[in-house]
């Protein structure tokens, strides 16, 4: 049976179709979830796509956090369901306190769209287990408020526990410690600013590295053994 990945649409979500395409291309079944849904339609994992939910009023993700579906997602995440937040989805996860830290205005104060070279720092998350730790990937990064910040203690803790998942090789926004993506303690909830779902076809993306993110969660869901680079 193919895995079912729920893709949430908030008013103002933009990359929901793109996320569905990525999920489909990687061999899973995308399932639409609506911000007002109280239940998760039996999905196996959740993808919070990019966009400008609620117009990014106040702070990105600040309002989406209060939607019904986020209550359901928080509970499911607690029970171990894999949840991925990309760009605005990452912001929603931080605002919801499912991930530590916050995303603030880029240090250079502009929206910037560039392919970002990233290092996959760990394969011990539900969304990266198909990568080699240390592997380099290229995803488009495009945002105005993607500078990752947290207090030093939190950052140290993230480093120590291996929860920095993606790191920029050319920091595009001033993120602290070049952090592009982080995970929760259990490794099932991951957020990152750059867009794996826009790196799934050679025709339209800078790479096809994004397919590995969905492939990872499929491997995770099917319980397929240890992370690939576990012997590192």
């Amino acid at each position: 049976m193919t895995a079912r990945v729920g893709i949430v649409t908030f008013p103002g979500s933009l990359d929901d179709r793109d996320a569905a395409r990525a999920v489909h291309l990687a061999g899973a079944e995308p399932v639409g979830l609506w911000h007002d849904d109280a239940a998760l339609a039996g999905v196996d994992a959740v993808f919070l796509p990019g966009g400008f939910s609620y117009g990014d009023a106040l702070r990105c993700g600040a309002i989406a956090r209060f939607s019904q579906v986020m209550d359901a997602i928080a509970q499911a995440a607690e029970r171990g369901m894999p949840v991925l937040g990309v760009c605005n989805g990452f912001q929603v996860l931080c605002e919801s306190h499912l991930l530590p830290g916050a995303l603030v205005r880029n240090a250079h104060l502009r929206y910037r769209n560039r392919p970002a070279r990233l290092r996959v720092e760990t394969d011990r998350t539900a969304w990266t287990r198909r990568f080699q730790a240390g592997a380099e990937v290229v995803f488009p990064a495009k945002h105005g408020e993607g500078r990752y910040v947290a207090d030093e203690a939190t950052l140290d803790e993230l480093e120590r526990s291996g929860r920095v998942v993606f790191r920029y090789l050319d920091n595009p926004n001033g993120s602290m410690r070049d952090i592009a993506g982080v995970a929760n303690e259990a490794g099932n909830v991951v957020g990152l600013m750059p867009h794996p779902e826009h790196a799934v076809e050679a025709l339209t993306g800078p790479s096809t590295d994004g397919l590995g993110v969905v492939a990872s969660v499929l491997a995770h869901l099917s319980g397929a053994g240890e992370p690939q680079g576990a012997n590192r």
């Binding site: 600040a62 205005r105 910040v149």
Partner: protein, 86 residues
């Protein structure tokens, strides 16, 4: 009609690039005696005429929505209702 103002500022330890940019631009206006600029948000909330628990509600709004405690602090000012015109 009660009017509440919530000021939301980045915590002092968080870099404020917007404030820095303004500070950097001041010499062009021949302003040279400024030590720092910080830019935050000012939120003006007008409650309905008969709203109850304005203070409590404002606190809820500020705490849960207007400010993100990871990066921001807030202050609430409740403006006294104007005295009814005779």
């Amino acid at each position: 009609m009660a009017r509440v103002v919530v000021d939301v500022m980045l915590k002092p330890e968080i870099l404020d690039p917007q404030g820095e940019a303004v500070l950097g631009a001041l010499p062009r206006l021949n302003v040279t005696e400024v030590a720092s600029v910080r830019i935050g948000k000012r939120v003006e909330i007008e409650f309905d005429e008969n709203a109850r628990n304005v203070e409590e509600q404002s606190r809820v709004i500020a705490d849960q929505l207007l400010a993100n405690p990871v990066i921001e602090d807030f202050t609430i000012y409740i403006e006294p209702s104007p005295i009814e015109a005779p």
